[in-house]
């Protein structure tokens, strides 16, 4: 694949530029370029004479107390090992009534065979119960909440994690809390968002039925722990890690709470827990590593690491060493493939998302890609890249879905990969080759960011309908009146815009569209394997970006999270970022009118689409979400008009023929007819429904559950309510 042939040259150019410009770097130590990760004897290492200016901490600095939240002694570095042989997990063949995994099953189909709720009776849904998780901002705390949780249901339990990682088991019929494991996550450990997408159900191969921890609930935490508790009692599994916990900060080097965190459920593939983590975007080039690691699901023992810039070392770093800094992180939910022994890792960008001159060729090969890792060794078997040299934060946020692709000579094991670009790639799981055609099309290369050339081409999945609208035009600008519309037209003309891959610029803003919240962010898709219908909800949310010189970034007060003066909200993942160690900071905002807080482009901002995978034709597609809770200056209009709002959270499809999706900023749960797309029912939630709903049956009744936790970035109301619906008894 000629995809990364530029990378070596780029890295070289970047280094030349950096050495050339190092002399004119501004005086503040924080601003200094660091062309390579600081070494053990680095001038900035703590222990040097204290300075009143902030110096980037050396990655070799010992982790401060609290970074290892489990307080577990590290012990010697572990060698690579193999997982305890596993028994088949229930998520491979879920019981009819259950929803045993985040994406319902190992394939992540979000398809339920339940058919009690149908297009005919869905209008009668009423609330069965509301469960309050207790996790929401305390008075005085900056709201960083967005629970994003989807409960799982196995047998007589509904299991979920709260936004702050407490694990609970609920009665599926009443919502009564049966047990709670308090994780003790501190506010400081919240990265960009307090989120916990789901817990993982695991059946032990060594502990026999009836013993404690035969069935276990596993979660990854915001403060980088793996926790396993007994599914019946919620008590820690003593045999796992250190009394039930594994410290994932081991080998990560210097860090601060909130810099790295887990928000997605780690899949267990053939006995190996595969762990990825979010590294807070936009902080510094030499942020903690994006390493992917395997741990034994039985014992919590380290198995292997895949560290992009140490490709041949699969063990833990030697004493005093750490995983390579600034490598692409993966924060999406991964998909495990027990049959092929692979885990599909959706990757993001190297640290410092909007500047690519300092990335290694190895990083350039695997960023914004699907990397299929062998779960025995941690070695990549194949890589498919969705953006070359990504500087648009088009990282992959969604969980890929495994399907049997209806091919000409029978079904092909396929992986459907949603992206923020709205390009949906369909790959052969065995070798990563596209099943549907992918074209390398020319991309704009003109940029004033010296030494950071762009890729001349980018991949387009031309065999799948595009989940996006055409490129923006001046006449697409919008407003309430000609004046605010004119303001947006002017903003449009002032910016650089050459389509989806407009290269970053320093001298003027550029428009990033579909944008980092565009297409499918983390919501993922739903697939009905019986009908071959794929459901996707997606966003149309352009961003207005500009690279700023280090001097200006300093003037704007942009500082990385490990700066002692850092304040929450002073530069997070989805906004302005210091991008310390690079020549530039980044200023990012939605492409909106900052006076009215209305988007500059005309509606819709969110859509939902059904695609027939047999023909790859769009069955139906329409705007998703009403204007009721949105309006100029943030004032709700209460208009029941479907305008199409931004949406975060995935869909669910049922054999009953109903599609459920929350996600929208109108704070509603919506039900659609899977055949026609007609909206059949909706209900206003107590908070924003930025989570994927799920459905289950218990004692003969079908339920639909959604976490209405809200989302701080989507500006929807925060709540701690899990809302569960069912049909009235006299149906």
């Amino acid at each position: 694949m000629p995809r990364t042939d530029l990378s070596a040259a780029t890295a070289l150019c970047g280094l030349v530029l950096l050495s050339a410009t190092a002399g004119i770097a501004p005086a503040r130590a924080q601003s200094a370029y660091k062309e390579a990760p600081p070494g053990p004897g680095d001038a900035d290492a703590p222990g040097k004479k204290p300075s009143d200016k902030f110096a980037g901490p050396s990655p070799f600095a010992p982790q401060a107390p609290g970074v290892n939240a489990a307080n577990i002694p590290d012990g010697p570095p572990a060698e690579p090992g193999e997982a305890t042989p596993a028994v088949e997990q229930i998520s491979s063949h879920p019981a009819h009534d259950d929803w045993p995994a985040y994406g319902r099953d190992t394939d992540a189909t979000r398809f339920s065979p339940l058919e009690q709720i149908t297009p005919r009776n869905v209008g009668q849904l009423t609330r069965a119960f509301i469960y309050h998780t207790g996790s929401k901002p305390a008075p005085g705390q900056v709201n960083k909440w967005a629970a994003e949780s989807t409960p799982i249901k196995v047998g007589d339990g509904l299991y979920m994690c709260t936004a702050m990682n407490d694990i609970v088991k609920l009665d599926p019929a009443t919502g009564k809390e049966i047990w709670r494991h308090e994780a003790g996550v501190k506010y400081a450990s919240i990265p960009y968002t307090a989120a916990c997408k789901a817990v993982v159900y695991y059946t032990s191969s060594t502990v026999s039925e009836g013993e404690p921890c035969h069935n276990r609930i596993l979660e990854g935490t915001l403060d980088m722990r793996l926790i396993e508790v007994d599914a019946d009692t919620g008590k820690l599994c003593e045999g796992f890690g250190d009394h039930g916990q594994v410290n994932l900060m081991k080998g990560m080097g210097e860090s601060v709470p909130g810099f790295v965190s887990m928000t997605a459920p780690p899949p267990i593939v053939n006995g190996a827990i595969v762990v990825n983590h979010e590294v807070l975007d936009g902080q510094r080039r030499w942020a903690p590593s994006g390493v992917i690691r395997g741990y034994d699901a039985e014992t919590g023992k380290f198995l292997w690491a895949w560290d992009v810039n140490r490709p041949d070392q699969h063990g833990e770093p030697a004493e005093g060493q750490h995983y390579s800094r600034g490598t692409p992180n993966s924060w999406a939910t991964m998909t495990g493939d027990n049959a092929l022994g692979l885990v599909y890792v959706p990757t993001g960008n190297s640290a410092a998302d909007y500047y690519s001159a300092m990335r290694s060729p190895e990083e350039n090969k695997v960023s914004s890609a699907i990397v299929a890792l062998d779960v025995k060794t941690g070695s990549p078997r194949w890589v498919f890249q969705t953006v070359h040299k990504d500087v648009w934060d088009y990282d992959i946020g969604s969980q890929p879905t495994m399907i049997d692709f209806p091919g000409q000579d029978g079904p092909v094991p396929a992986l459907v990969v949603p992206t923020k670009r709205g390009q949906t790639f369909v790959l052969d799981r065995r070798d990563g080759k596209p099943i549907l055609p992918v074209e390398e099309r020319p991309a704009p290369v003109e940029t004033d960011v010296e030494g950071d050339p762009r890729s001349p081409t980018q991949p387009w999945s031309v065999g799948m309908p595009r989940l996006g609208l055409p490129d923006l035009k001046e006449s697409d600008m919008w407003g309430m009146s000609p004046i605010d519309q004119l303001f947006c037209r002017l903003q449009f003309r002032r910016a650089k815009y050459e389509g989806e891959f407009t290269a970053p610029s320093v001298d003027r803003p550029w428009i990033e569209y579909p944008g980092y919240n565009g297409g499918s962010d983390w919501g993922s898709m739903a697939y009905d394997p019986k009908t071959g219908v794929l459901i996707a909800n997606w966003n149309v949310t352009p961003m207005y970006d500009q690279l700023v010189t280090r001097k200006k970034a300093d003037a704007l007060g942009l500082m990385p999270i490990d700066d002692p003066n850092f304040k929450p909200g002073g530069g997070g993942a989805e906004g302005n970022g210091a991008m310390a160690d690079t020549p530039y900071g980044i200023v990012v905002s939605p492409f909106w009118n900052q006076y009215t807080h209305m988007m500059c482009n005309k509606p819709p901002y969110g859509m939902i689409t059904a695609i027939d995978m047999h023909t790859r034709k769009v069955l139906w597609q329409h705007p998703l979400g009403s204007a009721r809770a949105n309006g100029p200056w943030g004032v709700p209009t209460y208009l029941p008009v479907t305008i199409g709002t931004p949406n975060n959270g995935g869909p669910v499809i049922t054999a009953g023929g109903v599609v459920f999706v929350g996600a929208t900023t109108d704070n509603m749960l919506h039900a659609f007819d899977a055949k026609s797309g007609k909206e059949l029912w909706n209900d206003v939630l107590p908070g924003g429904g930025q989570a994927t709903p799920m459905t289950y049956e218990y004692k003969g009744k079908q339920y639909v559950a959604i976490m209405a936790g809200g989302h701080h970035f989507m500006m929807t109301p925060v709540s701690d309510a899990l809302v569960v619906y069912t049909l009235p008894d006299n149906k």
Partner: protein, 127 residues
Amino acid sequence: MAGLYRPRRASEWATCAVAVLLILLGLPLLIMGAELALLGGSLYYVVAGAAIIAGGILMLMGSVAGAFLYLLAWLLTWPWALWEVGFDGWGLLPRVLGPTLIAVLVVLTIPVLRRLQKTSLAQRGIA
């Protein structure tokens, strides 16, 4: 009829207010519209802004021609808006809704301006 008229009745004050409103709304259209035109964008806004401001000034001077100038600009806005976005409701909203509401106000000023003009002519006739 050089110079501004002195409003006496409530209807004249209201007419005066509409004229000032036109000028206030026309100014951003003119200024931002000029920059937009220079950047290669639509010429509509700078032209419309100029017409609306001129209309407002004429109305302040008690001339019914000011009201008709605004209404002409409003009338021509429709074919322009339809040319830009067709019959797309969301697209038409910012382009024609506000101007149409103001057009209603302007229409209401016509009888007042007519009367003012007559009075002024009559006064001049006496003088």
